[in-house]
């Protein structure tokens, strides 16, 4: 289960940003996780509950936004529905993943004295 290692990288990053701004506490983290990122939101949340103890994130809520996978033709932009063969139904080009592989830290809300 790699969610722990992802949460560790997340908490480290947030602590660095918070310290650089001399924040005294972090209130909320907003992350975006794609459907095809290989990260389970529930596992991420439980890993976060363990890893945040004793860090600047101890009291910070973790808001996870899930991003559905979207495939489209790189040529004509036509969407290829998930579960279908990943080729444009018209020109047969291999589809490209437009969104859905994100593992992104978007925003940190922190308390600055």
């Amino acid at each position: 289960m790699h969610e722990y290692s992802i949460v560790q990288a997340l908490v480290d990053r947030v602590e660095r940003e918070a310290r650089a701004r001399k924040a005294t506490a972090v209130h909320r983290l907003s992350v975006r996780i794609g459907e095809l990122a290989g990260v389970e939101a529930e596992l991420l949340a439980s890993a976060y509950d363990i890893c945040r103890a004793g860090s600047l994130c101890a009291g910070a809520e973790l808001a996870i936004e899930s991003v559905p996978a979207r495939w489209a033709c790189p040529g004509c932009g036509r969407e290829v529905p998930a579960g279908e063969v990943l080729r444009c139904p018209v020109c047969r080009s291999p589809a490209r993943l437009v969104s859905g592989d994100e593992i992104i830290l978007d925003r940190i809300e922190m308390e600055v004295a």
Partner: protein, 238 residues
């Protein structure tokens, strides 16, 4: 301190980051990749379930190359040195990365392992990942290509069950095809499943035991090599 009214309450600020959480791993992976490219080495991240035949593929690869290319390997293993030992026996210089309980390799583990491993003169470095179809797909190691070993005994719908792994694959090796006569597995069903998760599906059927299908894999590896330096330049590459 709140500057607006001077009330003394702490101020809440929202810092916009919009950065990859694994940016640190990606930096290390980029560093590894730079080294590999600089040395003209092709690094392959070989992934697959436990028992898919990753080590056997590499043993067969060494036999088939028969010394024509310099191969090396780092093998991620939870607790033992068995895979690396098998590879060394097959003539591939190999070292283990013991991951303890970690279910995947990351770029830093590979980087550290290479500090003590003579990788610089190699044509191919195989990074045999931990047997797992989930976690290894998430971490870039600096490889030139991702190869997934999928054995015929794993079920026709495996790609549909692990879309993250197969989406990241540049090539799938369908291993143990010598067992097909004994199974009810249809290769077309595996190919169809793959086409629904891998936008440029590429699958080679092979058997490490009989050597069947190895030539396509070797040709693919050869095609991935950087263009050979002209003879006059070779001496300056060291």
């Amino acid at each position: 301190m709140c500057d607006t009214c001077g009330c003394g309450d702490p101020e809440i600020v929202a810092v916009e980051v919009h950065d990859k959480i694994l940016a640190g791993n990606e930096r290390t992976a980029a560093h590894n990749r730079e080294h590999f490219v600089e040395r003209g080495l092709v690094a392959i991240n070989l992934m697959g379930s436990p028992g898919a035949g990753k080590t056997a593929v590499l043993e067969a690869t060494a036999r088939a190359f028969a010394g024509r290319r310099r191969l090396g390997a780092v093998a991620g293993d939870l607790a033992t040195d068995h895979d690396a030992a098998r590879l060394r026996e097959a003539g591939i210089p190999a070292t283990s990365i013991s991951t303890g309980s970690a279910c995947h390799l990351d770029a830093e583990m590979v980087h550290r392992a290479l500090h003590d491993f003579p990788w610089r003169g190699l044509d191919y470095l195989f990074i045999e990942n931990v047997g797992n179809l989930v976690c290894p797909a998430v971490y870039d190691l600096g490889q030139a290509a991702n190869v997934v070993a999928l054995s015929v005994t794993e079920g026709e719908d495996k790609p549909l069950k692990y879309p993250v792994m197969f989406r990241k694959a540049d090539l799938v090796l369908l291993t143990k095809v010598d067992l097909l006569p004994h199974l009810d597995v249809r290769v077309e069903a595996i190919e169809d499943a793959l086409a629904r998760v891998m936008p440029r599906p590429l699958l080679f059927k092979m058997s490490a035991r009989t050597g069947a299908g190895l030539s396509s894999w070797l040709d693919w590896l050869e095609a991935g090599r950087p263009a050979a330096a002209p003879p006059g330049l070779q001496g300056t590459m060291a």
